[in-house]
Amino acid sequence: MRWALWAVGLFLGCTGSIEGSSGDIDVNVDLDIDEPRGPNAPPMDDEGNLICEGRHVPATSLRRLTRDQYDATVATLLGDQTGPARAFPADDDIEGFLVAGTVSQLLVAQQRAVSEAHAARAVLDLEELTGCGEASCAEAGIRQLATRAYRRPASDAELMRLRVVYDAGADHGAGMQLVIQAVLQSPHFLYHLEPEPTGAETDSIVPVAPFALANRLAYFLWGTMPDAALREAAEAGRLDDLEGLMAETDRMLEDGRAASGFRFFYRQWLKVRDVAGVVKDETLHPEWNADVARDLQRSLDRFLDDVYAGGDLNLLFTGTTHYVNARIAPFFNLDPAAFGDELEAHRFAVSQRAGVLTHPGTMALLSKSNQSDPIHRALFIRERILCQHLPPPPDDLVVEAPDPSPGLTTRERFAEHSESPACVGCHTRLDPLGFVFEHYDAVGAYRETDNGTTVDSSGQMNETRDLDGPLTGADDLTMRLGGSAEVQECVARQVFRFALQRNETDADACSLQGIDASFADSGFDIRALLRAVVASEAFRFQRVQ
């Protein structure tokens, strides 16, 4: 494998000069060196094929509930939809996915305050919550609550401790309120705990324990805690073999909760969660406001729900049914008078709107406040759809992004990138790709002209395994993405990262190879991909610390 070393390159729009550097700028050096392999990687034969005998998984570390998971879990556990965890310190953003980060004093204080608020609301209907409204059955109520919250049967010692907490309350309600506070602040609730078998040797590879595996499964497929059936399957040992695990996986994928679980995935992967916060230049785009942004996000959600329901990866890039209401109709170039308040399905021509990329929500997100943004549109394709990375701009380089100027199209203003030697290294990978979206303006509406000149949406894809070549426009690109092996593998990587809440490593090579093969065999069916991730060693096994 070749390992491209981009020694120096640029990031955003730039006309560059390196201050204080007299020599030539070393741009785009492609070094032919063997890729170093990380710890615990499976061996390879002389031809570079993986030898997947034995088990290979990397050392991983403890995960905590993300903010979304915290809120979803409390909603399942207590029926409390208030979603206060969004005020917690932000989760860490790792390659686009969210992972709960450092535990700080601030976080612990907020967790306490939130547990108190949840508990106060929950005890308003204890009967509903624990099936028991009086002191005589407190024990049963506590057991049920703790078992659900900890995603495994609560131990006798834990129950005794919670009983002591209960007794500190003045009456049944006050006691249960304190119990709920204690449960919600317990590490058994807050963490995805994956206990190691007693006496297991360091670096040995062991199956993820049944309740921990059920936990992985539930948060991957549903985005919340296991239900009673999944806990029972774990308890009965039905997750211990692959067949039983897949039977449970199929049950869960059939369940309506799977669609909402998948939302957590694509909202992070495709940045859909950011659309509702997009702000535009008020003087240039008075038609844009917070309600528009929110409805565009809902419209994207509906489209992506359809992709999940339809199952075919290609739909993601080429689906032509989008959801429109009167408020967002203008951004789809439609007459608002033809629509009501509710989102309704509308078929589009492929040349105007196809798939997630040319949805006005996505295009507006990938724009400046006052103009289209070819650089970030291309960067999105490179990073999210192709799993490529571009280097940051080098130090001590004066970088200037071109401003909108009268009489020049966006394309013309960015032309200098392809002329300056300091820019060309990275920008040959960005500008020609980003230009194919030039028909979409800063708010994602389709346009035929830019500053009075007919839009030229031709472009070029390069530095890919199987997509290189000239492009006539966005539709030309989107029709080809679903068939690209590089895109298919990237989608599989993204699902893998989301499922395991970590980046893939060299030690995962065999798992990934198996996932890619199953995904291909299925004809790139999204459910088959989810199943393949569950079936992988990386999902089912852990390395003892």
Partner: protein, 472 residues
């Protein structure tokens, strides 16, 4: 209800269960919290006695030293930032001109370079932000910001100076430190400057109202309610701590360490419970009035958020809730506009403009001058608080830092460090000092000003020793 004069209607019990302070409850600006007030608040409660004893003890010792770190992003315009003239007869140029009223309390530090940027992974902004207060390289890792072959990068590899000093001077007060901010964004290398240790960034609280509730929300709950609450909370936290203890035998070595860190913080919470009812330092403790809550994410209200955070830190210091704090104004690569001073372009975009673009350079001068005014506001607020030995400003050191020297070339040289206050007389202020030294030396010298007399701070490769002439 032993509430002090002027506080709102009794809503104590609701507040306990909601975890929030009722609007209008105890947010009265500049209400005196004198010794008499404290006695009223606590009555003769036995639980309060150790605390009163603590107060009495401290009053005899004089006021403690405090450290505040503030940050503004994207570099400065050095030509308008560096003063003219000599060490003591200097004249501020435009950016620092708002500090003129406090020139005896200001120390401007020229030619301090962030030499840690010469090694380790990460881009200029990432390194600038993560290394600014830690003085060590960023760690290799898997956080974004790299490229296919750039070394992947992660958090900074060591403790930040504020936390290091907090470990020495802020352990027997309710909060070891307070991290506050405004528009600091999500959690990544560009948005975190305070580190509890390697790979342990501390998140700032962007919401001044939530921060207020955290610091002062239980400040003067009545004695009976407070005692009941302590009792209940103790039982809850005991159970939580026992859960942490149980896990010790089931988890791998590294995971145990992570859990132990979490458990330590819960233990801190328990400890604070024992101190609850509020601390207070002499007659100067004032609980600020935050008025009606508004959306702190609304960019148009950024100036108000900064003002509230400044009030909060001043009060938290005056009431001895903590002795170390930071306020992070925006974030590295922050891209806000400043329409209230006529700057509608965005900060990071502007910071990339060439030196020859006069109009954009002027906008950057305006932004940095506006931040200097905020720095002056902090000094003004602190100077208004009288304490043994002068004012709160005399007893505090404010460090103003930036992740870059200058935005359009991302330079690590001549970072615009400014000090305000005197750290209880430890800093010889009122001067314009030029060095040519690594910024680790500045961090080390600040530690010495707080009596933390280490040999070095951060990466030893970038330590040359104490900055001469800065300490009294």
């Amino acid at each position: 209800m032993g509430k002090r004069d002027g506080s709102g209607p009794d809503s104590g019990r609701d507040d306990l269960t909601s975890g929030r302070v009722h609007p209008g409850f105890m947010r009265n600006r500049l209400r005196p919290m004198g010794r008499r007030g404290l006695l009223t608040a606590f009555g003769a409660s036995a639980l309060a006695l150790p605390f009163l004893h603590r107060l009495g003890g401290k009053a005899q010792e004089g006021a403690p030293k405090r450290l505040l770190v503030v940050f503004s992003p994207n570099g400065t315009i050095p030509g308008e930032w560096r003063p003219d003239g000599g060490e003591t007869d200097f004249r501020f140029r435009r950016i620092l001109a708002p500090l003129e009223d406090f020139r005896d309390y200001v120390t401007v530090l020229g030619d301090i370079d962030m030499r840690t940027r010469r090694s380790g992974p990460g881009d200029g902004h990432q390194k600038g932000m993560g290394e600014m207060l830690t003085g060590v390289d960023l760690l290799p890792g898997d956080t974004g910001g790299g490229c296919n072959s750039c070394a992947p990068v992660s958090w900074a590899g060591g403790i930040s100076i504020d936390q290091h000093i907090a470990n020495h001077i802020s352990t027997d007060v309710p909060f070891r430190s307070l991290e506050l901010g405004a528009h600091t964004g999500g959690s990544n290398i560009w948005t975190r400057m305070a580190y509890r240790g390697a790979s342990e960034p501390l998140p700032p609280e962007d919401n001044p109202f939530a921060a207020f509730d955290r610091v002062f929300g239980e400040f003067d709950v009545d004695a009976t309610a407070a005692a009941l609450r302590r009792e209940e909370q103790r039982s809850v936290l005991d159970s939580v701590m026992a859960d942490f203890d149980d896990l010790d035998s089931q988890m791998g070595r590294e995971d145990r360490q992570r859990l132990a860190m979490h458990a330590d913080i819960v233990r801190d919470l328990e400890r604070r419970l024992e101190m609850s009812g509020g601390s207070g330092f002499g007659a100067s403790c004032r609980v600020p009035d935050f008025g009606d809550e508004f959306n702190h994410r609304d960019q148009a209200r950024y100036p108000e958020v900064l003002d509230l955070q400044a009030d909060l830190v001043t009060a938290a210091f005056a009431c001895d809730q903590t002795r170390v704090a930071s306020i992070q104004w925006n974030r590295s690569v922050g891209n806000m506009s400043f329409p209230w001073i006529g700057v509608n372009d965005r900060h990071h975009d502007l910071s990339h403009k060439g030196d020859g673009e006069a109009e954009h350079q002027e906008s950057l001068v305006k932004i940095n001058t506006w931040y200097a005014e905020r720095f002056a506001d902090l000094m003004r607020k602190m100077q208004a608080i009288e304490e043994p030995g002068g004012t709160l400003l005399d007893n505090t050191l404010i460090l103003w830092c930036n992740e870059l020297g200058k935005g359009n070339n991302h330079t690590a040289n001549d970072i615009p460090f400014v000090l305000g206050g005197r750290a209880g007389g430890a800093i010889r202020s009122g001067r314009w000092l030029r060095y040519d030294r690594p910024h680790n030396d500045l961090l080390l010298t600040i530690a010495h000003a707080f009596g933390v007399e280490d040999e070095q701070f951060g990466d030893p490769r970038y330590n040359e020793g104490l900055l001469p002439g800065l300490l009294a």
